[in-house]
């Protein structure tokens, strides 16, 4: 076994190189002082960031993405939380089927979700917009929010809710003053995870928006004009935003739990 030890660390190192290689290349060449984001490296500049941050279309797309992510995640969280509360508290006939139905969209490719909605909306005469994309993103994130909330509802909470009810609290008061605060870490985790998924989602947004596109769709159209350090710069910014959201969620989650 001793002989294996260096191999173990070699494997770990190789894995990290593989995992970080594309990100490192992406970020490094976002500072490229030249037209092409490939070697040789011609010196560092932040011009591409200035160009990207001054680009109106890109900034509009980024605004759309933020709005979409926050709004659709909030709706998905409320729906998921209420459903989880209902299914965890009350014994309903056919509960396992209901649970499976609510989880099912998670196992379906986003292409199918998007295509189905596109056809339905065009049948109903609804134009593609940020709104229709938001409807799709709620479908995408509802299973996740439901599953996280449902898994977090334990017995301890059940007794706290019963105590509140015995003391005369109405169902709304129980929900907002007992259940939601007790579940705050899980709710936050579900919300932030949904935000990152929606922020990054491409195919539903591509199929269901026309003019008010989101950032991934805008990046996609940038790609079509070939390699450019500007794309690296946008990609690095998006990465940074996601990492900040994830780290913030993790910090929040850990602090509450501690």
């Amino acid at each position: 076994m001793k002989a294996l030890r260096p191999l173990v660390w070699l494997y770990l190192a190789a894995a990290y190189v593989f995992i970080f290689l594309p990100v490192a290349v992406l970020v490094a060449f976002s500072f490229q002082d030249g037209r092409l984001p490939v070697p040789p490296f011609r010196g560092a500049t932040v011009d591409w960031y200035a160009k990207v941050l001054g680009d109106r279309d890109l900034m509009a797309a980024m605004g759309n993405s933020v709005l979409l992510a926050v709004a659709s995640s909030a709706v998905a969280l409320v729906l998921g939380f209420l459903a989880a509360h209902g299914l965890a508290r009350v014994r309903l006939p056919g509960a396992p089927v209901l649970r499976l139905l609510l989880i099912a969209p998670m196992a379906v490719s986003t292409l199918i979700l998007g295509l189905g909605l596109l056809q339905m909306f065009s049948h109903l005469g609804l134009r593609p917009s940020l709104m229709t994309t938001g409807i799709g993103h709620v479908v995408l994130n509802l299973p996740l929010c439901f599953a996280i909330c449902f898994a977090a509802m334990g017995d301890q909470q059940k007794s706290a809710e019963r105590a509140a009810r015995d003391l005369g609290a109405g169902e709304w008061q129980v929900l907002t003053q007992v259940s939601a605060p007790m579940l705050a870490p899980a709710l936050a985790a579900a919300f932030f995870l949904s935000v990152t998924f929606s922020w990054d989602e491409f195919i539903i947004a591509f199929l269901l928006t026309r003019f008010d596109v989101t950032l991934p769709v805008e990046i996609w159209s940038m790609l079509k004009s070939g390699l450019s350090p500007a794309t690296n710069a946008v990609g690095s910014v998006v990465f940074l935003v996601s990492v900040v959201v994830v780290v913030a969620a993790e910090a929040l989650f850990l602090r509450r739990r501690a």
Binding site: V38, G86, L115, V138, V139
Partner: protein, 282 residues
């Protein structure tokens, strides 16, 4: 009203909004898609019908069937490779990295998971392209260029990169839940490390592995971006074919039929692994 009836009404009231949303924007669109997949195209007009022609077309035209086969091959290869690469990584982090560094090691191993999905494939293009980092490095070493961009290999590398991170996470979560006594007990009973792994650790981590593999399969076979950016147009996958039908010819019935087939494949994969995969427990 009795207490039980009031309880039930409350329960339904709480579940109703989510249920209504899922039925209206998931179940109904899918049923619509199913109906549309049996429709015919008359020029650019969709004619409602009960025609299995779209499915027959997939089964008989070599290009269409080829896309299906490509998708299945790529997905199978990616799933197997990702599990094989992720398992040792998860095990090293769980058993070899000191406890206080484990969280950091794991966080680092999945950090690039959060790069934008479109950008991630683009970044691999910068690495694997003709003038990319890899070829320039090989050139410096006096080795010939590798033609990787716009090949299946590039698609597979891009996919494996993503799913290794996902699987490392699910397998690690499984490994750290194992009581350390089990491995020790196996050793006390005379099992070598290999036997202890094969007979004790591996079976206990199978649910995590299978759940991760199922997610890999589903996400991989339905993905359009990675094969489109990295595979170029060297070969088509099923999602690329679906997008082509939407864009170029506006053939929604055929795109619907292809989507239904995709859905059936995913359902079959779920049925095959349902013993281990608990979607409601993720």
């Amino acid at each position: 009203m009795s207490l039980a009836a009031r309880e039930a009404r409350l329960g339904w009231g709480l579940v109703a909004p989510a249920l209504a949303w899922t039925v209206a924007f998931f179940v109904l669109p899918f049923l619509g898609m199913l109906a549309l997949s049996f429709a015919r195209m008359d020029g650019r007009e969709v004619v409602p019908a009960l025609d299995p022609g779209n499915y027959l077309r997939l089964a008989t035209e070599p290009q269409m069937l080829g896309a299906l086969v490509n998708s299945l091959q790529i997905t199978a290869l990616v799933t197997v490779l990702s599990v094989l690469l992720a398992y040792p990584l998860a095990a090293i982090i769980a058993f070899r990295v000191p406890r206080r560094w484990q969280r950091l090691a794991l966080l680092l191993a999945i950090l690039p998971f959060w790069t934008s999905y479109v950008v991630r494939s683009y970044a691999w293009l910068l690495v694997l392209g003709q003038n990319g980092v890899l070829n320039q490095a090989l050139d410096a070493l006096g080795l010939g260029p590798l033609e990787l961009a716009a090949t299946r290999a590039a698609t597979v590398i891009g996919f494996v990169h993503f799913f290794v991170m996902l699987l490392t996470l699910t397998i690690y979560a499984n490994l750290v839940q194992l009581p350390p006594n089990y491995a020790r007990a196996a050793a006390d009973l005379g099992a070598g490390p290999v036997r202890a792994f094969v007979h004790v650790i591996l079976p206990l981590t199978l649910p995590g592995v299978v759940t991760g593999a199922f997610l890999t399969f589903v996400l991989c076979i339905g993905d359009y971006i990675t094969p489109q950016i990295l595979g170029g147009n060297s070969e088509l996958t099923l999602p690329q074919l679906i997008m082509l039908q939407l864009g170029r010819s506006g053939n929604f019935p055929f795109a619907s039929a292809l989507s239904v087939v995709l859905m059936v494949i995913v359902t079959l994969a779920w049925a095959a692994t349902a013993r281990w995969v608990r979607l409601d427990r993720i």
